[in-house]
Symmetry: C2
Subunit: 262 residues, 2 copies
């Protein structure tokens, strides 16, 4: 194909010139073409806000919140679909496993690691993706129907961590906010997702109804400690999985910007 | 200026074709030109890892760490220079101020808010940018020389939060890991940066030497509580500013991916 090289170069120069002198064009194209820093005033402000919002949620700065801001839904979709979520979870899993390897186990079967279930071992992303990525109010009936399907997959990172900890000799305790009536489907779902060999699966029974998650989970951890377990590590997607009393020696917060549980 | 429009269009089509069929070129240019999602397999893996690493640091999942991974220096540079750091801090400041507005103040002057100083009220970014963004080991002599210059600026977000809290009637307590011998330069630097009207500036004195930050800061908060202060909020860039005992009702972790203090 014949084309004039010099004309093309001229066209490029003209196009670049237009971008540099016209801030309107410049900002309009900046979401597609990343210009050098000095020519881009800021990242698109909504995406940038949503990144800040997500960090505030993950660091527990946001406090109690009910729904994902509607303007951040597409940021969350991108976060999950482009693989950054998996990357973020993987970094946490690696830190947890590195820490676990430094522990001198007593070898009496009492060296324990606690895992939450939903969004820690099992991913409900399919449900949330179909329900606004957490931007619509929680619907317990609808979510319960999804749980009863028992088709939630595991995370690559949590499977690696879970299996790695078992291999190191840790006793695994699963501690979930799910109800005792969901024991059977939860067990089957976990097995189908690739988990096995846990020592306990602790669910809410009648006396736990209505308790805040941090209270219920702290009480259950305390019971385990009273049984002689040493809780070296705890992994959860909610700060209420990790805080309160009878906390683990180290806690690992895995990412979940879709919902908050007090 | 004369140029052949059709030749230029041909050149563009050729160039785009080359990008789409050649993944090597495609990945090499993707850091400059953002291609549509389907043509970019994933974000460049280093940037993606560094984003995960930064989140792990901010959520305290990384535990104790000494230097920023060298491969993440350019990600941090981008984080600061493109404004995402400021955006992230601003989101935290807004959450803190929203929370502060919900508090019913006793009005006896004992409603307190604690601030750390370095990387919370004063930015040492100029120093760190000139010293590898935290990727080189901490040099106490060199950092001390920088502190003694007294030229660290404030953050827009921290100035807004500080002034907002004062206006609401909170008593401001500054609690820093800096040494008592740096009181004068620290006071002057804070005033120059736009802060004024704090009640206490607490620095490490002889009895605090060698104490872990969380221990020292918890002890000082406890002293304030014993003096009758109610610590409604605490703002710091390190988890050791916020955790331990005598903790605030709510703690706000502001971003700092450049260094870790135990």
């Amino acid at each position: 194909m014949a084309f004039s090289r010099s004309s093309s170069i001229s066209f490029f120069i003209l196009a670049l010139f237009a971008l540099f002198i016209n801030p309107t064009i410049s900002s309009r194209v900046s979401s597609f073409i990343q210009l050098p820093v000095s020519t881009v005033e800021s990242r698109p402000s909504v995406a940038s806000y949503c990144e800040g919002w997500r960090l505030a949620v993950e660091t527990n700065n946001a406090g109690s919140w009910t729904v994902v801001p509607s303007k951040c839904v597409s940021s969350l979709e991108t976060y999950y679909n482009r693989g950054q979520f998996d990357k973020d979870y993987n970094v946490v899993a690696n830190y947890a496993l590195s820490y676990a390897k430094t522990i001198q186990l007593a070898g009496d079967g009492k060296d324990a690691w606690v895992f939450d279930v939903d969004e820690t071992l099992l991913s409900n992303l399919e449900y949330y993706a179909a329900n606004g990525y957490g931007s619509v109010p929680y619907n317990s009936k609808k979510f319960n129907d999804w749980v009863l399907q028992g088709t939630a997959p595991g995370f690559d990172a949590s499977l690696k961590l879970f299996k790695g900890l078992k291999k190191l000799g840790f006793t695994i305790i699963l501690l979930t906010g799910r109800d005792e009536v969901q024991r059977s489907i939860t067990t089957q779902n976990l097995l189908d997702a690739g988990y096995s060999g846990w020592e306990y699966l602790l669910l809410r029974d009648h006396k736990d109804q209505g308790k805040a998650a941090a209270q219920y989970k702290s009480e259950r951890r305390l019971e385990m400690i009273k049984k002689g377990y040493k809780i070296h590590g705890n992994t959860g997607d909610q700060w209420s999985d990790l805080q309160g009393f009878a906390v683990a020696d180290r806690s690992f917060k895995v990412p979940n910007p879709m919902y908050f549980i007090a």
